[in-house]
């Protein structure tokens, strides 16, 4: 009972909500780029929100179902998913039978997620199923999927039951600026640099992946030293190397880095970084920690309401 991968897409990896507690020995958290979409996918299938799904970037997989009955859903960026050629609606569950072909083609956003009922029969590494490809850790053999892979499923036959629909997904808010806390090294930049960051748009370059998103725009000027004695990184922090072009660090980032970090995207907006596209423009807005916490609460309430709206289809 598995999913036989015919075409792996561009960069498809198993991810859950990340690996916690090992940053101190050099292991970054990894985990879904867009945690919100992964959580919603699992919620649609009536299972724990943190279960691992298949994350697909830009181009999705083509696979053959090799189990008696598979219940699944696709969340995240819109794509052109089909089952034996018939289009599949997003934000609802579907059922497939042995031998059917699921194809998730071009993805019109950063990342899409395939969640399956019961999850994948893979062993956690350091407490997580997330794949960290740079060190070959976790997920499916520590790497992105390849043609011919047999991705093992936990359930041979999903329980019979009605499909479920999510009528009110959490709004994507693509045009709203990303909210940041200034720092931890904001004082290493000129006041003009801070003003520039908070007033101008930065373009997402093609150098954007699970490690980081390189941005391009008006250079951010360091007030003095352009490097620091390395210290810990976290996901969403914006480091600025000597050329003044910022880099947003993503879940597979290095755990420590030697460039000053001018600002950090707030927790509640991290999932939006998983959906940015090369060529698009990002804007940033500074908030206070109290505001960031309020926004985090609001997002959790919105998620709970959205999950509460899930209904059975007749």
């Amino acid at each position: 009972m598995s999913l036989r991968i015919i075409d792996p897409g561009l960069f498809s990896t198993i991810q859950d909500l990340g690996r916690v507690g090992y940053q101190r020995i050099g292991v970054p958290p990894s985990g879904a780029l867009d945690t919100l979409s992964l959580r919603m996918g699992n919620a649609l299938l009536g299972q724990a929100q943190g279960m691992a799904g298949l994350e697909m970037c830009r181009v999705g997989v083509r696979l053959v179902v090799e189990c008696a009955r598979l219940r699944f859903c696709i969340t995240g960026a819109d794509g052109t998913a089909t089952l034996d050629g018939k289009p599949l609606a997003p934000w609802r569950s579907h059922t497939a039978r042995a031998g059917q072909e699921l194809h998730i083609g071009r993805i019109r956003g950063g990342a899409a997620y395939l969640c399956v009922q019961g999850g994948f029969a893979l062993a956690p590494v350091l407490g997580s199923l997330s794949t960290y490809t740079r060190a070959g850790l976790g997920g499916f053999e520590g790497r992105r999927l390849d043609g011919g892979d047999l991705l093992p499923l936990a359930l041979a036959e999903a329980p019979a039951g009605p499909e479920r629909l999510l009528p009110h997904p959490v709004p994507a808010e693509r045009s709203r600026p990303l909210r940041v806390l200034l720092g931890p090294h904001a004082e290493m930049f000129t006041e003009a640099a801070i003003r520039t960051l908070l007033s101008e748009a930065y373009q997402v370059t093609h150098n954007a992946d699970r490690l980081g998103i390189r941005l391009q725009g008006t250079p951010l000027e360091h007030a003095g030293a352009k490097e620091i004695v390395s210290d810990g990184n976290n996901t969403g922090c914006m480091q600025v190397p000597g050329d003044g072009q910022p880099i947003l660090l993503m879940p597979d980032r290095q755990t420590a880095g030697g460039y000053p970090k001018i600002a950090t995207v707030i927790t509640a907006d991290l999932h939006r970084l998983g959906q940015v596209l090369p060529g698009s423009q990002l804007r940033f807005e500074a908030v206070a920690p109290e505001q960031a916490e309020m926004v985090a609460w609001q997002l959790e309430r919105t998620i709970a309401a959205s999950i509460g709206s899930i209904q059975d289809l007749a």
Partner: protein, 227 residues
């Protein structure tokens, strides 16, 4: 949240970072996700829904006021290194730039007692402080595209060992067969922040024998390298 103790590499800051890390993990506030001690600061990752920035800041400030003054001594390791020409890609250059013989560079590299002041940037990669001041050098520009696993290299005031083949800009003095990271070990990183490391030189034949032993699992680094 980042608790910074210094903007430089300084032993007092390293000790304070470790002491705060220990105190915070003992306090174990609800909503603490994980911490990362580094060379001069402690990164504290917290869930803003359960632990507000204001409460965390207050907690860190009160813990920082009463840091234990005792230095925490880590485990001690003796890690063998082969400094022979095939592995010591930058040894001749380092020696020339320092006006020393290659033997002198190796002698000084072995002569130091190192402390793992942080483990990071890659799984299991130690930043070993305590390099002989006469060996302090900048990183190489540009960095090498690929440095082999086990490479022992120096830059700034530190020495390190690359656990896996990666890009790297440090000055390469030798290679060690000792595996540093394995998710199957109870502690996946051989070295933890605070551990004490010394090196010894070994000939190529011993390197090959150890590499084979670690490779087939007949040797364990925790046993071979315990000082």
């Amino acid at each position: 949240m980042l608790a910074e103790f210094s903007d430089r590499l300084d032993p007092r800051a390293v000790a304070d970072v470790r002491a705060l890390d220990v105190a915070l993990s003992a306090a174990a506030p609800d909503g603490l996700i994980e911490t990362m001690p580094s060379l001069r600061s402690l990164l504290v990752l917290h869930d803003p829904l359960r632990l507000s920035a204001r409460r965390l800041r207050a907690l860190l400030e009160s813990l920082a006021e009463n840091l234990a003054d005792t230095t925490i001594i880590g485990r001690q390791w003796l890690i063998p290194v082969c400094y022979e020409e095939e592995f010591a890609l930058d040894l001749a250059e380092v020696a020339a730039s320092k006006g020393m013989s290659m033997e002198e560079v190796v002698r000084r590299h072995i002569g130091a007692t190192y402390t793992a002041i942080a483990v990071g940037s890659f799984p299991g990669l130690p930043y070993l402080g305590g390099l002989d001041p006469a060996l302090v050098l900048p990183r190489r520009v540009p960095p090498r595209i690929l440095v082999p696993a086990g490479t022992v290299a120096i830059a700034l005031e530190m020495s390190n060992i690359y656990p896996q083949a990666t890009p790297g800009g440090w000055n390469i003095l030798g290679r060690s067969p000792v595996p540093l990271f394995n998710p199957g070990w109870e502690a996946p990183s051989l070295l933890s922040p605070g551990d004490i490391v010394r090196h010894r030189a070994m000939p190529r034949a011993e390197y090959d024998a150890l590499l084979a032993g670690f490779g087939d699992g007949t040797l364990l680094p925790h046993e071979v390298c315990r000082a």
